[in-house]
C-alpha cells in the first residue's frame, strides 16, 4: 500500500527546499512546498479510496528498527479509521495553510526557511499519526516539537520570539519526560510497544479499581499530552508561541500539533479504559483548563492571544470529552476545531497582514468594509466556535457535552458556562476588529487571492464540517454516545447568550465595557495578568534553577571541578612529569647514540640471561 509515501512527499519538499531553497526563486520554493503537501493529500485520498471502508486496520511493516534482547521495535505504519480522520485533517488543513502562507509570507525574510520547516513539520506530524508503536510515535512527537520551536522563534532576531521558542521547547521537555517514562513502563508491563499487541494484552486485564501500573502509565502519558496539548499547568508556552508567523499559529498551534496529545489519548483509549482514575484526572484537568483559559481570554487585547487562550480552552474541552470516555466526540471536536480555529487564525493573520503587522484589538475597528471576505469568513468561524446551531462547532461541542452530562451534571454546567465565555470573548474580538470606528493609523486593505481562497474553503468546512459525523465513522472503535436534547439546547443557549452580551457591550453600549472594567478592578487586573501564573513559575522554578545553575553548576562544577580540576589539572600533571623526563632530551645527537647503544646492550644482555635463544 506504500503508506510511507504519505510522509515522504513533505520530507522530499523539506530536503529540496532546505538544500536549494536559497538559490531558487520564491515561486519555485512555494511550488515545491505546496506541491509536496498537495501530493501527500492526494495520496491520502487515493489510499483511503482503496482501503475504504477500513473496517480493519491496515498496517505496513518496513523494517525492524531496534532489535535488542526481547525489545523489538519495527518501523511500522498503521492506518485505521482514527488515523484516516487525522490524515485528512492534517494534509487537508495543512495544504490550505501552505497556500495561504504564499501570500502571507510574500514580503518576509527567510521565505524558503519558512517553507522548509513547515514541510518538515508535516513530515513529523504524519509520522506521529501513522506510527504503529509508541516509540515511532515519540519520534514524530519530538519532531513536531522541534519544528514548533524552529517556527515559533522564526523571527529569531527579536528577543521575545527567541524566548518564546525556548519556552515552548523547555515546557514541552516536562511533558516529554512523562511520555518517555510512560514508554519505559509500558515496555516493562507489556514487553512490547506495538499498539495492536498492547491492546490485545490489555483486553485480558482487569479494570484497575485502585491506582496501579496502568494508572501510572496513563497518567504519565497524560503528562506528555498536557505538555504538547497545552493543558494546565503546562499550557503557559502556547500563548507565547504566538510570536511565530500567523500561519504557524494556525497550523501548528491550533489545528494539528497541539491536538497530538488528544490523538495520543484517543489512540491509547484501551489503556485509559482500564484506568478510571486516570480518566477522571484527564476530565478534571480538561475541564479546569477549559474554564481557566477562557476567563483569561476575556480580557486579552492582542487578537492572536485571544485565539491562543481559546485554543487552550478548546483543547481542554477535547480532554474533557476523552476523560468521560467520549473519545469519538473528542476527535470530532479536534476536527471541527482544526477547521474553525485555523480559520480564526488565518483570518486574524489576514487582518494583521492588511494592517501591516498591527495585532492590538484597540487599534482596529470597522474593518468589515475594507476586508469583506475576511469579515465574512471570520464571522463564520466565530459562530462555529460558539456552537451556534448548524455550524460545525455546535455538533462536536454538543457530542462532548452530552457525554459529560451523562457522567456528571456539574461538569456539564461548568462546560456549558465555558461555552458562554467562549462565545463572549470570540465575539468581543470580532466586534472590536470589524465594527465601530477604525482606531488605527495604517490604511487597511483586503488580502490577496492566495490568502482569501483558503479562508473561503475553511469557512465552508466550518459551516458543513459538523455534518461529517466523526462519531458514526469511529463507532467501530469507540461506542456511540447517546444524543440528548437538553444539553444541546443548554449549550447552544449559553453560546447565544455570550454573543448577545458581547454585542451589548461592544456594539450597542460601548461605554459599558469600560465601566464594567472599572467596577471589576482587581478581578480584571488578575485576569489581565493571566492569574500571575507566569510570574509564579518565574519565582518558584525559573529563578531557583538559574540560581543553582549559576552558583553550583557554573561556578562550582564547571569552573571549579571541570575547568581547574580536570582540564587545567590534567595539563599541570602532564607538564610536571614532562619537565622531569625533559632532562633526558639533551638535544645532542651523540648523547642519543650512546643511549641507543646502551639500550641495545641491555636488550642483548637480558635476552642472554633470561631468553630462550641461548
Amino acid at each position: 500500500m506504500n503508506l510511507w509515501l504519505i510522509p515522504f512527499f513533505p520530507f522530499a519538499g523539506f530536503v529540496l527546499n532546505g538544500l536549494l531553497g536559497k538559490r531558487l526563486s520564491k515561486s519555485i520554493v512555494s511550488l515545491i512546498a505546496v506541491g509536496s503537501v498537495a501530493a501527500s493529500f492526494a495520496f491520502v485520498l487515493a489510499v483511503l479510496g482503496k482501503v475504504y471502508p477500513l473496517n480493519v486496520p491496515f498496517s505496513d511493516h518496513y523494517f525492524t528498527w531496534i532489535q535488542s534482547g526481547s525489545l523489538s521495535i519495527g518501523c511500522d505504519f498503521v492506518i485505521d479509521r482514527l488515523t484516516a480522520v487525522m490524515l485528512l485533517v492534517i494534509t487537508g488543513v495543512g495544504l490550505l495553510i501552505h497556500i495561504y502562507s504564499i501570500g502571507y509570507m510574500a514580503h518576509e525574510e527567510g521565505y524558503s526557511r519558512f517553507f522548509t520547516f513547515l514541510n518538515l513539520f508535516m513530515f513529523f506530524m504524519l509520522v506521529l499519526v501513522l506510527a504503529a508503536n509508541l516509540l515511532l510515535m515519540f519520534v514524530g512527537w519530538e519532531g513536531v516539537g522541534l519544528c514548533s520551536y524552529l517556527l515559533v522563534s522564526f523571527y529569531f532576531k527579536e528577543k521575545f520570539a527567541a524566548d518564546a521558542g525556548n519556552k515552548a521547547f523547555i515546557v514541552n521537555r516536562v511533558g516529554d519526560f512523562g511520555f518517555s517514562l510512560a514508554i519505559f513502563l509500558t515496555f516493562i508491563l507489556f514487553g512490547t510497544l506495538d499498539f495492536g499487541h498492547i491492546s490485545s494484552t490489555v483486553a485480558g486485564m482487569p479494570v484497575e479499581t485502585s491506582a496501579h501500573m496502568l494508572t501510572a502509565i496513563t497518567l504519565l502519558l497524560f503528562v506528555g499530552a498536557a505538555g504538547k496539548s497545552a493543558q494546565f499547568p503546562l499550557y503557559v508556552w502556547l500563548p507565547d508561541a504566538m510570536a511565530g508567523p500567523t500561519p504557524v499559529s494556525a497550523l501548528i498551534h491550533a489545528a494539528t500539533m497541539v491536538t497530538a496529545g488528544v490523538y495520543m489519548v484517543a489512540r491509547l483509549s484501551f489503556l485509559y479504559d482500564h484506568a478510571p482514575l486516570a480518566m477522571h484526572v484527564v476530565a478534571l484537568v480538561g475541564l479546569f483548563t477549559a474554564i481557566f483559559a477562557a476567563t483569561i481570554g476575556l480580557v486579552q487585547n492582542d487578537i492572536k492571544k485571544v485565539f491562543a487562550y481559546s485554543t487552550v480552552s478548546q483543547l481542554g474541552y477535547m480532554f474533557l470529552g476523552l476523560g468521560v470516555g467520549a473519545y469519538s466526540a473528542g476527535i470530532f471536536h479536534l476536527m471541527t476545531h482544526a477547521f474553525f480555529k485555523a480559520l480564526l487564525f488565518l483570518g486574524a493573520g489576514s487582518v494583521i497582514h492588511g494592517l501591516a503587522g498591527e495585532q492590538d484589538l484597540r487599534h482596529m475597528g470597522g474593518l468589515r468594509k475594507a476586508m469583506p471576505i475576511t469579515f465574512i469568513t471570520l464571522g463564520i468561524a466565530s459562530l462555529a466556535i460558539c456552537g451556534f446551531p448548524g455550524f460545525s462547532g455546535f455538533f462536536s461541542k454538543d457530542a462532548i457535552l452530552s457525554a459529560v452530562y451523562e457522567r456528571s451534571p456539574w461538569m456539564f454546567w461548568v462546560g456549558a458556562f465555558t461555552a458562554g465565555l467562549t462565545a463572549f470573548y470570540v465575539f468581543r474580538a470580532f466586534f472590536l476588529a470589524f465594527f465601530g470606528k477604525y482606531r488605527g493609523h495604517h490604511h487597511p486593505h483586503e488580502s490577496p487571492l492566495d490568502m482569501t481562497v483558503p479562508l473561503s474553503v475553511l469557512a465552508l468546512l466550518s459551516l458543513v464540517g459538523g455534518f461529517l459525523s466523526v462519531p458514526t465513522w469511529l463507532s467501530g472503535i469507540y461506542p456511540l454516545g447517546e444524543e440528548r436534547t437538553f444539553p444541546m439546547v443548554v449549550s447552544a443557549l449559553f453560546g447565544i447568550l455570550g454573543i448577545c452580551i458581547a454585542a451589548w457591550f461592544y456594539l450597542i453600549r460601548p461605554s459599558m465595557a469600560e465601566s464594567m472594567k472599572a467596577s471589576a478592578g482587581p478581578v480584571y487586573t488578575l485576569l489581565e495578568n493571566k492569574y500571575y501564573v507566569d510570574e509564579l513559575y518565574t519565582e518558584t522554578i525559573v529563578k531557583p534553577v538559574i540560581g543553582v545553575s549559576r552558583s553550583l553548576l557554573w561556578r562550582g562544577v564547571d569552573e571549579g571541578f571541570i575547568d581547574t580540576g580536570l582540564v587545567t589539572g590534567i595539563a599541570r600533571v602532564v607538564r610536571g612529569w614532562g619537565s622531569l623526563f625533559r632532562q633526558w632530551q639533551s638535544g645532542s645527537i651523540r648523547n642519543y647514540a650512546t643511549w641507543i647503544l646502551a639500550g641495545s646492550l641491555l636488550v642483548i644482555f637480558v635476552l642472554g640471561l633470561f631468553g630462550d635463544a641461548r
Binding site: G587, I589, A593
Partner: protein, 102 residues
C-alpha cells in the same frame, strides 16, 4: 670459499660492526656518522650471508636483501635530511646541531 671457516666471517663482521659503533658514537661529522650506520648495516648483512651459506638455507639471503632495501631508503631520506640541515645551519658538526630541546 669452502676452506675459509665461518668464524672468520663472523670476526670480520664483528670488527666492521664495532668500527661502525665507534664511528657512530665518536665521529663529529654527520656524514661520517651516517656512513658508520651504513657500515653497521653491511656488517650485519655479511653475517647473514655467511650463516646462510653455512646452513645452506635461503633465509639469510632474503634478509640481507631486505636490509639493502631499507639501507637504500634510509640513505635517500638521511641524505635529504643532511642537505636540509646544512642549508639551514651551515654546519654538519654534530655537536652544533643540538637545538632539538626546549
Amino acid at each position: 670459499m669452502g676452506h675459509i671457516p665461518l668464524s672468520w666471517y663472523l670476526i670480520l663482521s664483528a670488527i666492521l660492526f664495532g668500527t661502525g659503533i665507534a664511528g657512530f658514537v665518536y665521529r663529529k661529522s654527520v656524514i661520517t656518522v651516517f656512513m658508520s650506520i651504513e657500515l653497521m648495516l653491511n656488517a650485519v648483512n655479511l653475517s647473514f650471508v655467511a650463516f646462510s651459506y653455512q646452513l645452506q638455507r635461503i633465509d639469510g639471503h632474503i634478509y640481507s636483501f631486505f636490509v639493502m632495501v631499507v639501507a637504500a631508503a634510509e640513505a635517500a631520506v638521511g641524505l635529504a635530511i643532511i642537505l636540509t640541515v646544512f642549508k639551514n645551519r651551515g654546519t654538519l658538526q654534530i655537536d652544533e646541531v643540538d637545538s632539538m630541546k626546549l
